[in-house]
């Protein structure tokens, strides 16, 4: 993943949890609560919830083969112009990231293979780094509207 210079982190929250399905809703609620403090629409918050749910579900289902055997790390960071969510696991990893991001890649009939499609549709940026045997890191980015009024301190007039 190319580390982009997004400026200074204004605030962040980090979660570490066991790879069990109960934690999917917990993680998306925490991220959405964090995001709710920002100037985002309700629609944006719903989109963020879906994207986080997909990324965390992928880590549990694919990364850890749907077993409570590993840790998932979710970090949500607020920068001046962006909200960045990192979902990281230490699971099996993805051999072909490009292929995995295509629609209907899943082979399980109960799954639609739309996880990455939703992430890409609902977020402004989706970056994935994965190494077989090492794990997968997904970075989800939502651009924040620039405040209409500058809140920065004005230089006092001489």
């Amino acid at each position: 993943m190319t580390v982009k210079d997004r400026g200074e982190i204004i605030n962040y929250v980090q979660l570490e949890f066991l790879s069990v399905p109960e934690n999917v809703s917990l993680s998306r609620v925490v991220v959405a609560s964090f995001a709710a403090q920002l100037d985002l629409t309700l629609n944006d918050l719903e989109e963020i919830k879906v994207a986080v749910s997909e990324a965390v579900s992928n880590s549990i289902i694919h990364g850890y083969n749907n077993k409570p055997v590993g840790k998932v790390y979710v970090t949500v960071m607020r920068y001046e112009k962006e909200l960045v969510i990192i979902v990281k696991d230490e699971g099996v990893g993805i051999k072909d990231v490009k292929k995995a991001m295509e629609a209907a890649y899943s082979t399980d009939p109960e799954r639609m293979g739309l996880g990455f499609v939703f992430m890409k549709s609902f977020m402004d940026e989706v970056n994935v780094v994965s190494e077989p045997g090492k794990g997968t890191t997904v970075e989800l980015v939502k651009k924040l509207e620039l405040p209409k009024k500058t809140t920065g301190k004005q230089a006092p007039k001489e």
């Binding site: 399905p21 109960e22 629609n43 749910s53 579900s57 399980d108 639609m112 739309l114 499609v117 939703f118």
Partner: protein, 112 residues
């Protein structure tokens, strides 16, 4: 997620309430399979008007049940999706496969 079940002749009404993700998809799967595996019912009216969240795990479970019911010569329709749920249904293309109705009455009419 809460699941309320009602049977009317050969049609099963399944009313879901809450969040529909990989955890609750399992509950949904067994609720449907319990009724259809014995072939006591033919059709499913899935009321999701009280579902506040859905992701691809929830959609996958819905679509898999739809395929199964169709194979058993039954039909399945969806009732009342909230705007945020409807967007996900639309984006996934599920609305092109499964009919979505505004209320249970029109869904029942649509099944006939």
């Amino acid at each position: 997620m809460k699941i309320q079940v009602e049977k009317l002749k050969d049609t099963l009404f399944l009313r879901l309430k809450g969040e529909f993700d990989m955890l609750t998809a399992d509950e949904f799967r067994s609720a449907v399979d319990d009724h259809f595996d014995g072939k006591r019912v033919k059709n499913l009216i899935l009321d999701i008007s009280k579902v506040s969240f859905i992701d691809s795990s929830g959609l996958g479970a819905i679509l898999a049940r739809y395929k199964k019911i169709k194979q058993l010569n039954g039909n399945m329709v969806i009732v009342g999706a909230k705007p945020q749920v409807k967007r996900v249904l639309e984006l996934s293309g599920v609305v092109k496969i499964i009919e979505v109705y505004d209320d249970e009455k029109s869904a029942l009419m649509g099944l006939l």
